[in-house]
Amino acid sequence: MIYMLFFLVIMMLAAGVGIIFIKNVLNAVIVSSVISLGISIIFVFLAAPDVAITEATIGSALTTVIFIIAISKTKGKYSEKKE
């Protein structure tokens, strides 16, 4: 049981380091949504189901939608370097 948590934490930290090196900002937002889902699973391991439901809906669904709306409104011929 403890090894599941070990692999989960390793995967989340590797994804977090990967966000630093990703150039395209849309890919970084998708990886951040996966990190939010991993945090929600950690809350279940810590015996807090109320907090896990709240984090799964707010952090993984709503925040990703708002980021994608903001990215689609700030692209264009005057944006910074195309990647």
């Binding site: 896990a52 669904a61 709503l62 709306i69």
Partner: protein, 237 residues
């Protein structure tokens, strides 16, 4: 240059946390704790009648913090509406979405609505409550808004519903000033039978008000972000 200074600061902070703070936090024996939370666990079923201890803390023992949180959400939705409105309204024209998206979103919306109402109504028995239930209903709303060509975004009714829900939260608190205990947000209804839907006094009513307020507020805020005239699509005017 910024990356170098950033790395030095980060390593300093991580070194401090892992050597000094970890020696205090990690070996502390966590099987014998004396805190306010353990005291609340022993008395919460007798005093409030709710089966979910976290819900009774959020609504009754710490109800004033929930009022502050509702205020912060209202301020952020107000800020988004102030920044994103202005000038003439922008008629948002979707490109030709695929047929699966259009019909799929219309079929999915009643189930998400029903699921959100279930989580709000059973907040004192199972994990959940007003906040995640309201967010689920708002997610159902803007799946339909973003992929449909039949529904338009009108925020007139959403603001009226949100105002009445917020007002009813405050009115439920002020009624407590006229009971013999004379304080804001007191539990003045009777506790009912344990572990049924109509129990735990005032908690289902407050969570219903919070759920309606959060769902209408968030769908209004995200709808404002989506149909605003600032941004890329208005370049070719």
């Amino acid at each position: 240059m910024r990356k170098l200074i950033g790395l030095i600061l980060i390593f300093g902070f991580a070194f401090y946390m892992f050597t000094i703070v970890a020696a205090i936090v990690i070996p502390s024996d966590s099987s014998e704790k004396k805190s306010v939370g353990i005291d609340i666990l022993q008395n919460s079923v007798r005093q409030t009648g709710a089966a979910n201890a976290v819900t009774s803390i959020v609504v009754l023992y710490r109800g004033f913090d929930t009022l502050g949180e509702v205020t912060v959400l209202f301020l952020s939705a107000l800020g988004i509406a102030l920044l994103m409105k202005g000038g003439r309204s922008f008629k948002h024209k979707t490109e030709d979405e695929s047929f699966i998206l259009k019909t799929g979103s219309h079929l999915l919306f009643p189930f998400m609505f029903l699921f959100g109402i279930y989580i709000i109504a059973h907040g004192h028995l199972t994990p959940g409550g007003g906040f995640p239930g309201g967010v689920i209903i708002a997610t159902g709303f803007f799946i339909v808004l973003m992929t449909s060509d039949v529904f338009k975004f009108r925020d007139y009714f959403l603001t009226i519903i949100e105002g009445f829900a917020g007002l009813s939260f405050i009115v439920l608190g002020i009624v407590g000033l006229f009971t013999p205990e004379k304080s804001f947000l007191v539990n003045f209804m009777n506790k009912g039978v344990f572990n049924t839907v109509f129990s735990a006094g005032i908690i289902p009513l407050i969570y219903a008000a919070i759920g309606i307020k959060v769902s209408s507020e968030l769908s209004g805020a995200v709808g404002n972000l989506f149909v605003s005239k600032y941004g890329r699509r208005s370049e070719n005017e």
